[in-house]
């Protein structure tokens, strides 16, 4: 890692800013992905360990068919909507942080 040059010796280019930036973004993405993956990995497990439950008929559909064929789509829309709201808020927060620390300097 080269030492910061004079032009880069400020808040935006500091190591700590990049670290907090990446950590917070990754944290948000990973928590959204985890919600999605629990459902995606969980469904085959339910099919495997609770076949009778998943074969329950709901208005003609099996429960498993209804979840995978229809309900899974809106579930993912909700996750993506929450992610977008939070990531926009996060970017605004990052900008404010830069502004504040520039004023302090």
């Amino acid at each position: 890692m080269p030492p910061p040059t004079s032009a880069h010796d400020d808040v935006v280019h500091s190591e700590s800013f990049l670290r907090s930036l990446m950590r917070r973004q990754l944290g948000l993405s990973v928590s959204c992905a985890a919600t999605f993956l629990v459902a995606l990995i969980g469904l085959p497990l339910l099919n495997y360990f609770a076949p009778a439950l998943m074969a329950t008929r709901v208005a003609g559909f099996t429960l498993s068919w209804l979840v995978v064929g229809v309900l899974f789509f809106p579930f993912v829309w909700i996750i993506s909507w929450i992610f977008i709201q939070r990531s926009i808020a996060l970017e605004e927060e990052e900008l404010r942080q830069v502004q504040r620390r520039k004023e302090v300097h």
């Binding site: 992905a33 099919n47 003609g60 559909f61 789509f73």
Partner: protein, 591 residues
């Protein structure tokens, strides 16, 4: 003269008319748009001025191929529940793209994956390695489009052989691309989405109104001994012998995922079969399911022709909103194809008995025609609409793939590797020659895959993308310790392993190589070869980490700046700063 037009016998005029109009409109719009956008940068600049709604429609229009329009329905009909993972993951894979890749890549400002590979590692060499997978993934993606063309033409012209349709459609689109038509601009692609959406949904609603609803048809598949389901009953035709039983069709771990173990059991002595099935069948099909899910979810995030479109957004926030709208648009679309599969099982089971171009892959085209039994020509009209949608699907995807593969061949292979100092006229000629070469190879491959399912082949393209481009993008964006050597080793290791496996499976299924005895002895090997993502994706990521650690001193010197450009909000203006520094470095180096 009459003999040469013999294949025109038995053509339904309604179906022919709708299909013909679609072809003319598609080609016409291609040339109209090509006149309006002369260069690649025009295409991007024009795109940047459009709204989120248009852009999301355009991405969806580009994405929905013959696999989505015809293949999903065909596979749900033939395999039942397990095939539902395909539409779900085709749509939900965009979530991974949104969460991990879309924003950073948009900020970095690389237009294609090879651009990104070069910019992230300052390595023109790596670009040349990365571009190879545009061609690999592209050819695997064109094969099912070609099958879609062969199936559709064989349906419209009952006398035409499968290969005839492949050659005809392939040749028309290839020459169209070579002549400069078919440059996708936002408006044309967006129109394609709404055309496909109309063509899949309207016939479904009409069919359900006439023959009973989705849930009613699914209820028919429950065993007669189970308690009666409180749904209006529907009429059903008797299943043919080759169709899977209701119990295996409606439940998870059915014919698709248990095929390998069933074949292995059949090769064993009769007294061992039951024990072998009990031991392996369900556990192996769980493995198959997970590997399939992994290939589709990761593969969506690594498809070269989709990522390009994210730069037509004005900024990162619009890019994210666009991704969400894409998920909504294609999610709504993907509810419909499985309905065709379910209705098809009950109303047109004859298709189970046929194979290739006459098999279940044509259910979307043929099913609406049964409305003719009750309401005159309306069935033909509906069937004409789905045929038109199928044409829109495979023509738009095939020409999009052809443009990007031709670009890779003409721009990267010829323009950068073979003849870096070629004149503009030579480059134009190279583009035309490349288009014809790529088109010809795609046609030859397409004529050979009649016996493979459309949806299955597209799944293979996803598996290759999942093991090559997805690890490259994911790791390059989130791990600053990656070196060019690490990235290249991982991408080649994972991607080529997936490529080799899928090729072996196809050669074996097409009976070019006889591996049946081997597969029967080793069903697990068959599953890991048929759905390789579960081991090739970790292999690629593992190789990237190990080799990058070994070559840690070769991490690009300005990695912190690159990471800032990838992750910091765009309003901080780091991208402009980064570009200026690069220009200064180049001037400094040349002096």
């Amino acid at each position: 003269m009459t003999a040469s037009f013999a294949f025109l016998g038995g053509v339904d005029p309604w179906i022919f008319t709708f299909s013909f109009i679609t072809v003319v409109v598609t080609i016409g719009m291609g040339f109209w748009s090509a006149r309006r956008s002369k260069t690649a940068s025009d295409f991007f600049v024009a795109g940047r001025s459009v709204s989120v709604g248009w852009n999301a429609s355009a991405i969806s229009g580009e994405y929905l191929s013959a696999a989505s329009f015809m293949g999903v329905a065909g596979m749900v009909m033939s395999s039942g529940y397990d095939a539902l993972w395909y539409p779900v993951c085709y749509a939900c894979g965009y979530l991974f793209l949104l969460l991990f890749i879309a924003g950073p890549l948009r900020r970095f400002g690389a237009y294609t994956i090879p651009d990104f590979a070069e910019g992230r590692y300052d390595s023109p060499v790596f670009r040349k390695i990365a571009v190879v997978f545009v061609l690999f993934i592209g050819f695997f993606y064109t094969m099912p489009q070609m099958k879609g063309a062969g199936v559709t033409l064989a349906y419209i012209f009952p006398g035409m052989p499968y290969w005839g349709g492949v050659v005809l459609v392939g040749a028309v689109i290839t020459f169209n691309v070579a002549l400069g038509g078919m440059k996708g601009i936002t408006l044309v692609q967006a129109f394609q989405y709404w055309a496909k959406m109309f063509a899949i949904s309207v016939p479904v609603f009409v069919l359900m109104a006439v023959f009973g609803f989705y849930n009613g048809h699914l209820a028919e598949t429950s065993a007669p001994t189970s308690p009666a389901v409180d749904v209006a009953s529907v009429a059903r035709k008797p299943l043919v012998e080759k169709a899977p039983t209701d119990a295996s069709w409606i439940s998870p771990f059915g014919p698709l995922t248990t095929k390998a173990v069933t074949a292995a059991a059949a090769a064993r002595p009769a007294e061992e079969r039951a024990a072998f099935l009990a031991e392996h069948q369900r556990s192996y099909s769980l493995l198959y399911t997970y590997s399939l899910i992994m290939a589709l979810v990761c593969g969506t995030a690594g498809l070269p022709h989709i990522l390009v479109r994210f730069y037509t957004n004005p900024d990162g926030v619009a890019a994210k909103r666009t991704t969400m709208w894409v998920m909504i648009l294609i999610g709504v679309f993907y509810v419909f194809p499985p309905i065709f599969g379910v209705l098809g099982r009950n109303l047109l089971p004859e298709l189970y008995a046929a194979t290739g171009a006459k098999g279940t892959d044509k259910i979307v085209l043929e099913l609406p025609r049964i409305i003719n039994e009750r309401y005159g020509v309306w069935g033909s009209v509906m069937s004409g609409i789905t045929c038109a949608g199928a044409f829109a699907a495979f023509m738009s995807t095939f020409s999009g793939l052809l443009v990007s593969m031709t670009g890779a061949l003409a721009h990267d292979v010829y323009g950068r590797m073979l003849r870096p100092h070629a004149k503009p006229a030579e480059r134009l000629l190279a583009f035309k020659v490349s288009a014809v070469v790529v088109g010809a190879v795609a046609i030859i491959l397409g004529t050979g895959v009649e016996q493979l399912q459309i949806n299955f082949m597209v799944g293979q393209a996803f598996a290759i993308a999942a093991a090559s481009y997805f690890p490259l993008l994911f790791m390059s964006v989130w791990w600053r310790g990656m070196t060019m050597k690490g990235a290249a080793t991982g991408m080649l290791g994972g991607g080529l392993a997936a490529l080799a496996c899928t090729t072996v499976i196809n050669l074996s299924d097409l009976k070019k190589v006889d591996l049946n005895a081997f597969w029967a002895a080793h069903p697990l090997a068959r599953i890991l070869c048929e759905q390789p993502a579960i081991w090739t994706v970790p292999l690629a990521i593992g190789l990237m980490i190990v080799v990058s650690k070994l070559t840690a001193e070769q991490v690009p010197a300005d990695i912190r700046m690159k990471m800032l450009v990838l992750h910091a909000p765009e309003t901080l203006g780091l991208k402009q700063e980064y570009i200026q520094e690069h220009i200064q470095e180049h001037i400094g180096a040349s002096h």
